[in-house]
C-alpha cells in the first residue's frame, strides 16, 4: 500500500476479502437491475468523449485472476460508468490502493461516493478510510465520521472499529470514550482482532471503562491468538521486560517466534539479531541471518544494518565486504545513523565500495544529523586533511567539526585549528583554549589555554572573558590576580554573560576597596577602547 491509513491497521485484512466470486455474481445481478439508473449517472458526470469500450465482466474477472491488474482496472471503468455498483466499488478500491494504475485518491473518492449512495457496506468503510488517509483535514475527518456512523447503522462490524478509533481520537467528531468503548467492545466480540487489541489497550488505560488489568490481558491474548501482530509483539515485550506480567524469557521467546511467523519485520530483526550474536542460548547465526534477510528485504533499516554487520564480520555467512556495504547502504539511505557512519568510513577506506570522498561526506552528514560525535570527528578530519573544502560546510561548521577532530586527537585537525586561530578566528581560540585547559587530544597546558582565552576575551567574547576571570582568580596558567579576575568578570557581565556578575561579587568580597577601584578603572578603560 503506498499510503498509510490514519490508524495502524493491516492492508492484508482488506485485500483478503477482495473479489470473492460469489460477491461479483451478486453485484452483477444488482447492476443489471440498476442498469438504467447507472447509465443516467454516467451521462451526468464528466464522461470521456470517447466512451470506453465495454469489456464483458467475465473478461475483467479473467484479467484480474491472471494478475493483469491494468486490464482489469481499465475494464472496470466502463462498467462503473454504466452504474454497476460492484464495479464502482472495485474500481475505487484499485484506485485507493494504486493497483493496476496510479494511486488516485480523488478517483477513488468519486467512485466510492457513487457506491455509497446505494449504501454499499464495504464502500462505506473503504471511503471513510480513504478520507482518513494522506494528511486528512478537518472536513475529511468529519466526512469519515459521517460515513462510519452510517456504517454502524447498517451493522457493519469494521465500521464500529473505525468509528471507535475516531471517537478515541476526537477528530471530526466529539471525543466520547464511553461510546468508543461500547463500539470497540462490540467489534471485538465479533472476532475482529484489531478491535480486540484496541480493546485491550482501553482496558489497560481505563479508557471509557474502569481500568481492568485482567480484561486487558484477556483481550490481548485473544487478539494475539487471532494473529494480531501488534498484540503478539506486546506480549513479547511484556514478558521480556516483566511489564504487567512476571518476567518470563521462555514465554517472551514463544511470542516472538509467533510474531516472526506472522511475518513482523521487527520480530524478525529482534530474533535474528539475538540468534546472530549468540545472545540467545541456542545461538544460531545461520537462522539469524535468514531472519534478518527477511526483515531487511521488507525494508527494516535496523535489520539491513545488522545484516551488513553479519557480512562484515562473517557471522552466519561468508565474510563479504561488498554485500556488507550493500546492506549498510540501504539502511543508511533510510537515515539510520550507525549505518550511515559505517558507510562514511567504508567510502573513505574503500571497504566493499570504491573509495569516494563525496559519498563518504554524504553519509557522514546523515550520521551527523543523527548526532553522531564520531561522524563530526571524521568530517573534521576530512576538512583538516583538505579532502573536504570548508566552503562546502560553511566556515562556522567547518571550525566546529575540525575542533571535534582535534578533541579526538587528530594532529592535522589541531594544526588546522591553530592556523585558524592565528588567522583570527575567535571560535578557534575558544576551542583551543578548552583543549589545552582540559588536556583533551593534547597535553594540558594551562598557560597556553590562558593565552587563547585572553585572545578570545580581547575579541569581546563574553564566555572567554568569564573563563579568563576564573583563571586569574585561581592562578591557573596565569599569576593569581583578583584585580584582573574582577575586571574580566565585570566586563563579561556587562557583555551579557549571565553568571559572571556573581563571580565578580564573589571576588569583590576578597578585595580591598582600592583593589576594586583599580579593577573597575581597568574595566572602564577596556570597555571604552573596545
Amino acid at each position: 500500500m503506498r499510503r498509510h491509513w490514519a490508524f495502524r491497521t493491516k492492508g492484508s485484512a482488506m485485500s483478503s476479502k477482495f473479489f470473492p466470486a460469489r460477491l461479483s455474481r451478486q453485484t452483477a445481478v444488482l447492476a443489471l437491475v440498476l442498469g438504467l439508473g447507472g447509465a443516467a449517472i454516467a451521462q451526468s458526470t464528466d464522461a470521456p468523449v470517447d466512451a470506453p469500450v465495454q469489456m464483458p465482466m467475465e473478461e475483467v474477472e479473467q484479467a484480474y485472476t491472471s494478475g493483469d491488474l491494468e486490464t482489469a482496472r481499465n475494464g472496470l471503468l466502463a462498467h462503473a460508468e454504466a452504474g454497476e455498483l460492484s464495479a464502482q466499488y472495485r474500481l475505487g478500491f484499485m484506485m485507493a490502493n494504486g493497483s493496476g494504475g496510479p494511486f488516485d485518491p480523488a478517483g477513488a473518492k468519486r467512485w466510492l461516493e457513487e457506491a455509497v449512495k446505494q449504501r454499499h457496506g464495504p464502500a462505506i468503510v473503504l471511503l471513510a478510510r480513504v478520507y482518513l488517509s494522506d494528511n486528512p483535514e478537518e472536513d475529511d475527518f468529519a466526512r469519515a465520521a459521517e460515513l462510519l456512523s452510517m456504517g454502524v447503522e447498517d451493522d457493519i462490524g469494521e465500521a464500529r472499529f473505525y468509528l471507535a478509533q475516531m471517537l478515541r481520537q476526537g477528530r471530526g467528531i466529539a471525543p466520547d470514550a464511553a461510546r468508543a468503548f461500547e463500539l470497540m467492545n462490540a467489534a471485538a466480540r465479533a472476532d475482529m482482532a484489531d478491535a480486540q487489541f484496541a480493546l485491550a489497550q482501553m482496558y489497560a488505560r481505563g479508557e471509557g471503562v474502569t481500568q481492568d488489568e485482567a480484561q486487558a490481558s484477556r483481550w490481548l491474548f485473544q487478539a494475539a491468538e487471532a494473529g494480531q501482530s501488534d498484540a503478539q509483539m506486546s506480549l513479547y515485550f511484556n514478558y521480556e521486560n516483566g511489564n504487567g506480567f512476571p518476567k518470563d524469557p521462555v514465554k517472551a521467546r514463544e511470542w516472538l517466534e509467533i510474531a516472526v511467523n506472522s511475518g513482523v519485520p521487527l520480530a524478525q530483526r529482534i530474533l535474528g539479531t539475538a540468534l546472530l550474536l549468540g545472545e540467545a542460548e541456542d545461538a544460531d547465526p545461520a537462522r539469524g541471518v535468514g531472519l534478518l534477510a527477511a526483515a531487511a528485504e521488507a525494508g527494516d533499516a535496523g535489520a539491513q544494518s545488522n545484516l551488513g554487520y553479519a557480512y562484515a564480520t562473517g557471522t552466519g555467512v561468508t565474510q563479504d565486504d561488498a554485500k556488507s556495504a550493500e546492506w549498510y547502504q540501504r539502511a543508511a539511505d533510510q537515515k539510520l545513523t550507525r549505518a550511515a557512519l559505517v558507510m562514511g568510513d567504508a567510502y573513505i577506506l574503500g571497504r566493499g565500495v570504491e573509495p569516494d570522498i563525496e559519498k563518504a561526506v554524504y553519509y557522514l552528514k546523515i550520521a551527523l544529523a543523527g548526532r553522531s560525535d564520531v561522524a563530526a570527528q571524521r568530517l573534521g578530519s576530512l576538512v583538516a586533511a583538505g579532502d573536504l573544502p570548508e566552503a562546502e560546510l560553511g566556515k562556522e561548521n567547518a571550525l566546529m567539526l575540525v575542533a571535534e577532530a582535534a578533541d579526538a586527537g587528530d594532529p592535522d585537525a589541531l594544526l588546522w585549528l591553530t592556523e585558524s586561530a592565528e588567522a583570527g578566528e575567535i571560535y578557534a581560540y575558544l576551542r583551543l583554549a578548552n583543549l589545552y585547559r582540559d588536556g583533551t587530544g593534547v597535553e594540558a597546558d594551562p598557560a597556553r589555554a590562558a593565552d587563547y582565552y585572553l585572545m578570545a576575551a580581547k575579541e569581546g567574547y563574553a564566555g572567554a572573558q568569564a573563563q579568563l576571570a576564573d583563571l586569574y582568580a585561581a592562578g591557573a596558567g596565569v599569576d593569581q590576580d583578583y584585580i584582573e579576575a574582577h575586571k574580566w568578570a565585570n566586563v563579561a557581565a556587562a557583555n551579557g554573560h549571565e553568571t559572571a556578575a556573581e563571580r565578580r561579587d564573589l571576588f569583590a568580597n576578597l578585595m580591598t576597596p582600592e583593589q576594586i577601584a583599580e579593577a573597575q578603572a581597568r574595566a572602564r578603560v577596556y570597555m571604552t577602547k573596545n
Binding site: N490, V491, A493, A494, A501, D505, A517, Q520, R524
Partner: protein
C-alpha cells in the same frame, strides 16, 4: 495617550527645573537663597562660607562637590570657625575633595576643640585612637572621649566604653564599660547596644546572660548594624538565648553582608515620588513615547524593564533607556542608572559612574537618590568619590549648555 502627555508635562517641568542650574536652586535646609549665601560668603562671612561648605558636601539639592566644600571650609576655618575647622579636618583625613593630609587633619582637629564642642572633642579623640596625623595615643583618646562624654555626647561615651572594655589607654574595667554603654543603649544607640550584648555573652563584669545578649543584639540589629546582625545570627545558629533557627541565622548573615557592602546586593530601584506610579498596562504607550524620544517614556520603560527583570539582558535594555533619559536630564533615570552601575546589572560595575549619576539625581533633590548615594559611598575609595564629583560636574555643565 492623554495621561501620557500630562505625565510628559510633569517631567518637562522637572527637566526645566534641573536645567536652570545652580543659580536657580533654592536650598530648603539653608532656608536662604543660594545666591544670597554666595554673596555673603564672597564678602567674607565665615558662617556663610561654612554653610556653603556643608551644602556642597551634603549635595542635596545642589551638585555635591567635596573640592568646592573644602575650599569654602578653608576660608571659614582661617577665620577661626570651629565647625569649619572640624569639617575640613575630616576631608583631609579621608582625602575627599583634597589630597589626604593626616598631619593637616590632626592640626585642624586640634584647633577646633578650642571652642569646646563635644563632637569636635570626640573627633580629636578618634584621631588619637587611630593615629591620624599623630602617633596612636589611646590614653589621650580616652581623655578627650571622657571630656566629650561629660558634655553628654553619647558616641564619645560608647567609644570610651570600648577603651575600658579592651583596656587600651586605661586599665581594663568591664563594669565601667557596661556602665558607659547603659545610658546610650537605653536611648537607642546601636553600637552601645551591640557592645553591651557582647559583655552579656562573655559574662565579663556581668553575669553571662544569653537572653539579655539576644535582646541587645536584636535592638542593634533592628537599626541595621551589620556586626549586631552577625552576632544575633551566631545566637540563632547555636540556639543561645533564642530558639535555634538555622534559617534565621542565614538570613541575618546575608543581611549583614548586604548592609556592609559585601555579598550580593539586592537592587531597590528608585522612583520619583512626583510622578504617577508606573503602570505595567501602559508599557506599550511608554515604549512608543520612549522611542519618540520622550525622557519620561524612556524612564518608565526602563523602570518597568528593570523592576520585572528576569535576566541580565532585561537590565541591559533598562540601562539603555535610563541612559537616554538621563542624557536629557531626567533625575529618576539618572538615579536608577547609577544603581545599575553600582550593582553591575546590565552595565559595567563602575562605582565612579554610579556615584556620578546618583550625585546628579541628588542635585535635583530626589530623596531616594541622596540616601542611596550616601549608603553606597561606603564601598568606595575617596579617589573614586572625587573622580565621580568631577565627572558629575562635567555632565552638569553639558546639561546646562544644552538648556541654554
Amino acid at each position: 495617550m492623554a495621561m501620557l502627555r500630562s505625565l510628559s508635562l510633569v517631567l518637562r517641568c522637572l527637566v526645566l527645573f534641573l536645567a536652570l542650574g545652580v543659580p536657580g536652586q533654592t536650598v530648603a535646609q539653608a532656608g536662604v537663597g543660594l545666591a544670597a549665601l554666595q554673596g555673603a560668603a564672597d564678602a567674607g562671612d565665615a558662617a556663610a562660607q561654612r554653610r556653603l561648605g556643608d551644602l556642597y558636601r551634603n549635595g542635596a539639592g545642589v551638585l555635591q562637590n567635596y573640592a568646592r566644600a573644602a575650599s569654602y571650609y578653608a576660608s571659614a576655618a582661617e577665620q577661626g570657625d570651629a565647625n569649619a575647622q572640624n569639617s575640613l579636618a575630616v576631608l583631609y583625613a579621608s582625602g575627599l575633595g583634597v589630597d589626604a593630609d593626616p598631619a593637616r587633619a590632626f592640626s585642624l582637629f586640634s584647633q577646633a576643640v578650642a571652642a569646646g564642642d563635644p563632637r569636635h572633642l570626640h573627633d580629636l579623640a578618634t584621631a588619637y585612637e587611630n593615629g591620624i596625623g599623630t602617633d596612636p595615643d589611646p590614653a589621650r583618646a580616652a581623655e578627650f572621649y571622657a571630656r566629650a562624654a561629660a558634655l553628654g555626647w553619647q558616641d564619645a561615651a560608647v567609644s570610651l566604653g570600648v577603651l575600658y572594655q579592651e583596656g587600651r589607654g586605661v586599665a581594663q574595667d568591664i563594669a565601667r564599660a557596661a556602665e558607659l554603654y547603659a545610658a546610650p543603649a537605653n536611648a537607642g544607640h546601636a553600637r552601645a547596644q551591640n557592645n553591651l550584648g557582647l559583655i552579656h555573652v562573655r559574662g565579663e563584669g556581668l553575669a553571662q546572660d544569653y537572653e539579655q545578649a539576644a535582646k541587645w543584639f536584636g535592638l542593634a540589629a533592628e537599626q541595621g548594624l551589620p556586626v549586631a546582625l552577625n552576632n544575633l545570627g551566631v545566637l540563632y545558629q547555636n540556639g543561645y538565648g533564642v530558639a535555634q533557627d538555622e534559617a534565621e541565622a542565614t538570613r541575618l548573615y546575608k543581611l549583614a553582608a548586604q548592609l556592609s557592602g559585601t555579598g550580593s546586593q539586592d537592587l531597590t530601584l528608585i522612583y520619583d515620588p512626583r510622578l504617577m506610579p508606573a503602570d505595567p498596562e501602559q508599557a506599550q504607550a511608554y515604549l512608543t513615547a520612549a522611542r519618540a524620544g520622550d525622557p519620561l517614556g524612556q524612564f518608565l520603560t526602563g523602570y518597568l524593564l528593570a523592576s520585572s527583570a528576569q535576566s541580565n539582558a532585561d537590565f541591559r535594555a533598562a540601562a539603555r533607556w535610563f541612559e537616554r533619559a538621563a542624557a536629557q536630564g531626567a533625575p529618576a533615570a539618572m538615579a536608577n542608572l547609577g544603581l545599575l552601575n553600582f550593582e553591575g546589572k546590565g552595565a559595567l560595575q563602575d562605582f565612579v559612574e554610579g556615584y556620578k549619576w546618583l550625585t546628579l539625581a541628588a542635585a535635583s533633590g530626589l530623596p531616594g537618590a541622596i540616601a542611596a548615594r550616601d549608603s553606597l559611598a561606603g564601598r568606595m575609595t575617596p579617589g573614586q568619590i572625587n573622580a565621580a564629583n568631577q565627572a558629575a560636574d562635567t555632565v552638569w555643565r553639558a546639561l546646562e549648555a544644552d538648556a541654554d
